[in-house]
Amino acid sequence: MKKSLLLILAVLILIPLGVVSAQNGETLVVALGSDSLTFDPLNYDEEVTNEVNLHIFETLVFNDTDLNSVPALAESWEQIEDTVWRFYLRQGVKFSNGNDFNADDVVYTITRAKTWEQSQYKGDTSAIKEAVKVDDYTVDLVTNFAYSILPANLKSLMMMDKESSENADPKDLAENPVGTGKYILVDYVREDHIDLVANPNYWGEKPEIQSVRFRPITNPATRTAALLSGEVDLAVDISSRDVEKVNSSNVATILQAPALRIIYLNIDGWSDQNKGVEPQDAFKDVRVRQAIYHAIDEETIIKNVMNGNAYIATGPIPTGYNGSASGVERYPYDPEKAMALLKEAGMENKITVTLDSPNDRYVNDGQIAEAVAGYLEKVGITVNLNLQPKSLFFDYVAVDKYNTSLSLGGWYDGTGEGAIILKSMFYSFGKKAGYGTGNRGHFSNEKFDELIDEALVTVDAEARAKLVEEAAVILNNEVGFIPLHYQQDIYGVNNRVTFEPMRNKHIYAWRFSFK
């Protein structure tokens, strides 16, 4: 018995020593923070799922590094009438099953996006009335109203093959993707790995990286360890406490970039049925909203709560987006001025408000809310902090429920268009279906709505930017919301590769190369 025991122990110990550690070879390995949910590109509009699927599928219009619209499956597009966008398709493109890509596939995909019950692209395609085939390589998208930014809305709408998808079981579509993209799926084990190889029949420039593996590693410390051990070539969302450790290793280097996600406060000074603040109309006075803005020391929040890993925000539109150059500035941190404004408004030491915030959704969200509550207390506003897990929070603060008058939220938009952000976040709620769906503060301003309406029908990008910027100034003057900061994307990159990040944090294998 003793002998056999020793033998087994010896084997157990020797196995790891005897085997040379697995070589990645020329396979690029990327550690993601979560798993892709499906290979059916219309089922989810979720960032990790999209970035993986965009290797396999392609869109009509795509993003360059700064999220400007560039041609992909459509070679060009133009607005031929107020309500008609014409797309000229690329010829000679084949799906991975050998079928030709043509106008029928576009019509099928858009129809499915609008009508399939599980489609999450109903919002992005809501402006489209119908897709009409003009000839094999020309499609007209007829909109319900003049809509200038339609191309920006199509940048994650991936084209599917009509012939093989039309009558397929959705469960098959979720596992067997057929696309025109640079890569083909070869192996998938849920929450373990996604293996892709380069598509030999790709129509465009072929990528340097021939095979890719995506590995969802949810625990941040494990991601760092996998990076440091050389197992992965790139790890996303490195935790800020590991930045130093990675940089001082000779295996990998940290790459930091401003993220698109803004963290902000919604403040309800417009609806009459708002709950959570005493007196109920306290926030109706713009001076009170200004006071709250003045009371918050965002720089200190970034320094102490975010460990310096965030960028101060002045408005809801990320830098570089069309319409981001409004030039508005923050209301400076000035608690005395805040108290003076409250006094002027007759609200000195009179306001009691509940600050609603999730505590598991954004980086340090609960602590940010605590810090904000502290600053408000300092100027004489009594704050009840209501921290909830995201699964309860988003239901509680839903815009049609009027439960909250002050809430912390985050917003991400990858379209590159300021008009789309303002339309979703601040257009008067309830006026038009699909507008103001994230407007938890129920900000409402006639002039603002008009500017957005106009921007959404203005084709010229510069003219549109001017309108959006004008709207952003109104939003800031009225204190329609209080911006806090933009988060930071932190990547760990193995020294054996070079990598160019995208503004929208998507990781694309064709943006890597081996040194």
Binding site: P16, E117, Q120, K171, R190, T218, S391, T437
Partner: protein
């Protein structure tokens, strides 16, 4: 025997019913999955559509009735997230969990049995005392700490074992998966050791206590005075008696491992069912959570069943019923 099995079966049905009711009620308080599934700029119509699609627009008792009705038809419901049968998702993940639990159980028995027997039969020796001290450490270290320490030691510093994941087969056009390769064994070692550590400590303590107590019994004293060899006393008489109590606890703790390896699986990015439970709780994927707990209940009932049968093997005086 057959009567015993039939009775156990009906007990299981009852347990499953109660469990499903409780989990259904509890998970309905954990939040609204609709907001987890939709993008933040989803329109109110999309939200309403999604509710209807998932059947969440109906009152809770109607939802539960539909759930029960479907179960009778053999349909345990679809995952909200993956649109696939919840039971299938869990079963698909079970082999990975079973693998890590099996390896960790082997490690546990290989280490704990000799050490526990030694500590129990020589309770006053220095060796025994250091074993007991070591087991105290093993029982108090949380698995996330042990896991990370092991990763930093064996993967980052020494580079012997992979940090995470289940296996790295070469990417092939056929995409075939091979099981139980050396490569896979290398991946399973660290999570198994992490899981085993607490188990080893517990089993040593149980064995030691059981043996120490048995060694005081009259029949051992009688055997001693009869001149039976020490080895024969420990292995032939005392261990058998000490095992009956040990096995119940150890069996259930294996059940615990199968059911709730969530933390270890998350640390090691192991694609097992524990990790599935955690991701499902995160997005309020209620069907998966409910079926998961039901599957776990079945596992416990089955383990208990086998423990009972093992009793009769170890101690023939014990009869089922």
């Amino acid at each position: 025997m057959i009567r015993f099995i039939i009775r156990r079966f009906f007990q299981m049905i009852l347990v499953l019913f109660i469990v499903s009711l409780m989990v259904f009620l509890l998970s309905s308080f954990t939040g609204d999955p609709v907001y987890m599934l939709l993008p933040p700029d989803a329109t109110l119509e999309e939200i309403a559509d999604m509710r209807i699609l998932l059947g969440l627009d109906k009152p809770l008792y109607v939802q539960y009735a539909i759930f029960l009705q479907n179960i009778l038809k053999g349909d345990f419901g679809n995952s909200y997230v993956y649109n696939k049968p919840a039971l299938g998702l869990i079963l698909e993940r079970m082999p990975a969990t079973m693998e890590v639990v099996a390896v960790s159980t082997i490690i546990t028995i290989l280490i704990a049995l000799p050490l526990g027997v030694f500590a129990g039969s020589n309770p006053k020796s220095t060796g025994s005392k250091s074993i007991m001290f070591g087991s105290l450490i093993g029982i108090s270290l949380p698995s996330f700490l042990v896991g990370m320490l092991l990763i930093y030691l064996f993967s980052v510093t020494l580079g012997w074992l992979p940090t995470s994941g289940r296996s790295i087969p070469a990417i092939t056009a056929s995409g075939k998966k091979t099981y139980f390769t050396i490569n896979e064994l290398r991946h399973v070692l660290l999570p198994s050791i992490t899981l085993a550590l607490g188990q080893v400590a517990m089993l040593i303590r149980l064995l030691k206590a059981g043996l120490q107590e048995t060694m005081q019994k009259d029949f051992i004293k009688f055997a001693k005075s009869k001149g039976v060899s020490r080895r024969n006393i420990v292995f032939g008489h005392a261990l058998r008696n000490a095992l009956t109590s040990t096995i119940t606890v150890f069996g259930l703790s294996i059940g615990d491992l199968i059911a709730f390896t969530t933390i270890t699986e998350t640390i090691f990015a192991w694609p097992g069912m524990g990790r599935l439970l955690l991701t499902s709780i995160n997005v309020s994927d209620r069907p998966v959570i409910i079926v998961y707990i039901m599957v776990v209940s079945v596992i416990f009932v089955v383990i208990n069943f086998f423990v009972d049968i093992l009793y009769t093997v170890i101690d023939p005086r014990i009869k089922l019923n």
